[in-house]
């Protein structure tokens, strides 16, 4: 089972078309394994990226270098997945 320990979801804001294109470039770098949850659309629209723990530093460096403003939307994806799993387990137990 694939785990997502330490993976984060970053909410990035692109200020202009140039930054939108840069996010496209980021997505094309397969080694970074960025998973776009919300794709780049137009300036001002939020873009959400799930970034694996192993490439997090590289992606953040890229965003900083190109002066993107971003925030961490999900600090640790696996923590939420564990909560989800526990919630489903609890629901099944109650049902029985």
């Amino acid at each position: 089972q694939q785990l997502f320990v330490g993976d984060q979801v970053l909410r990035v804001s692109a200020r202009n078309e140039e930054q939108i294109s840069l996010l496209g470039v980021l997505g094309e770098q397969e080694e970074l394994q960025v998973d776009f949850w919300r794709h780049p659309n137009s300036p001002g629209h939020p873009v959400d990226l799930r970034v694996p723990f192993l490439t997090l530093q590289g992606v953040k460096k890229f965003l900083d270098f190109h002066n993107f403003s971003y925030s961490i939307m999900i600090e640790d994806v696996q923590e939420l997945l564990d909560e989800e799993k526990e919630s489903m387990r609890r629901s099944r137990r109650i049902k029985r």
């Binding site: 089972q1 949850w37 919300r38 959400d48 999900i74 989800e84 919630s87 489903m88 629901s91």
Partner: protein
């Protein structure tokens, strides 16, 4: 039973399929289950049919879960199925819709992907098909329709989340719906439900050309979104796919619109920007409740404006 089912929890495909049988048992004169095909991994593709009789009535199609990781949509589909069944004979609007039209609802539109999200990778989006020569598994079933297929707004790389597949309708999950829609021939509204980002969209996604019915679709969207927001204040945007979200080719409702289904819409349900595809289960019922209000507006409009 359908009464003890926990609608406020996420469920596996087996639980959902079992529950569908219970819903049919509980409402035998209204609900039936039909199989429209099989997935790549040979799972049945089930559609719930809500009908009060008559042959080949005008119909409304709803689907959820074509993107596997969008769990809130399957959960909304389950809640909605129960709502349709329980409101017939109670709610005048639902009763009037079902007295003149049929409703088809496919809850698990991408069963292989959905099963995979439960067993192996919670964040899987695509189908699970394999093609020789492809490095990666799966096709984005919302880029696999024969509407601008393979143009900008889809990827030719099998490893991409938006891989369009080797040819239009290559995915049995897509082809089964195509065959069903074409053989039915009288579907008047088609709503495909996704998550997240809180949008109600109409065609097109593959071209900036406005659809001939743009004004009407825009007005219906405004009304539907107003109804949705009235419950919990959830903010939605609406418009054509390409102007509101991004260019996307080979998309579901572009194809349905081109087939003559005027009332073709796609939803992007909640999130508010905190959880993405991992929306907590306690938000299932509120999400489904607000979505239902918008769906009713679209269904009522289709009922009152048959063409």
């Amino acid at each position: 039973s359908s009464r003890t089912f926990d609608f406020a929890s996420y469920h596996t495909i087996d639980e959902i399929y079992d529950w569908m049988d219970v819903l049919v048992e509980d409402h035998p004169s209204l609900v039936s289950k039909i199989q429209i095909g099989q997935s790549y991994e040979n799972r049945p593709l089930y559609v719930l049919k809500f009908s009060t009789g008559g042959r080949n009535r005008p119909a409304i199609w709803l689907d959820t879960g074509i993107h596997a990781r969008e769990w809130i949509t399957h959960a909304t589909g389950v809640w909605t199925a129960n709502k349709i069944a329980s409101e017939y004979g109670q709610d005048p609007s639902v009763t009037a819709i079902l007295d003149s039209m049929d409703i088809f609802l496919e809850i698990v539109t991408n069963p292989d992907g959905f099963a995979f999200t439960h067993s192996s990778n919670r964040l899987w989006r695509k189908t699970r098909s394999k093609y020789s020569g492809n490095l990666c598994v799966g096709v984005d079933p919302n880029r696999n329709w024969d509407a601008g297929f393979g143009e900008a707004g889809a990827s030719s790389s099998s490893c991409s989340e938006t891989y369009h597949g080797p040819y239009a309708n290559s995915e049995p999950e897509v082809k089964s719906i195509v065959d069903f829609v074409q053989s039915h021939g009288n579907i008047k509204a088609f709503v495909s439900i996704h998550s997240y980002s809180q949008l109600l969209l109409y065609p097109y996604g593959y071209t900036y050309t406005a659809v001939p019915d743009q004004q009407e679709l825009h007005e219906v969207s405004a009304k539907a979104v107003a109804a949705l927001s009235s419950l919990y204040g959830t903010q939605y945007k609406y418009g054509s796919i390409i102007t509101t979200i991004y260019r996307a080719s080979g998309g579901t409702i572009d194809w349905t619109y081109n087939q003559g289904i005027k009332y073709s819409f796609t939803f992007e349900l909640r999130d508010t920007g905190r959880y993405g595809f991992l929306l907590p289960a306690k938000q299932i019922v509120p999400t489904a409740e607000e979505t239902w209000l918008a769906l009713k507006v679209i269904m009522e409009h289709a009922r009152d404006n048959l063409y």
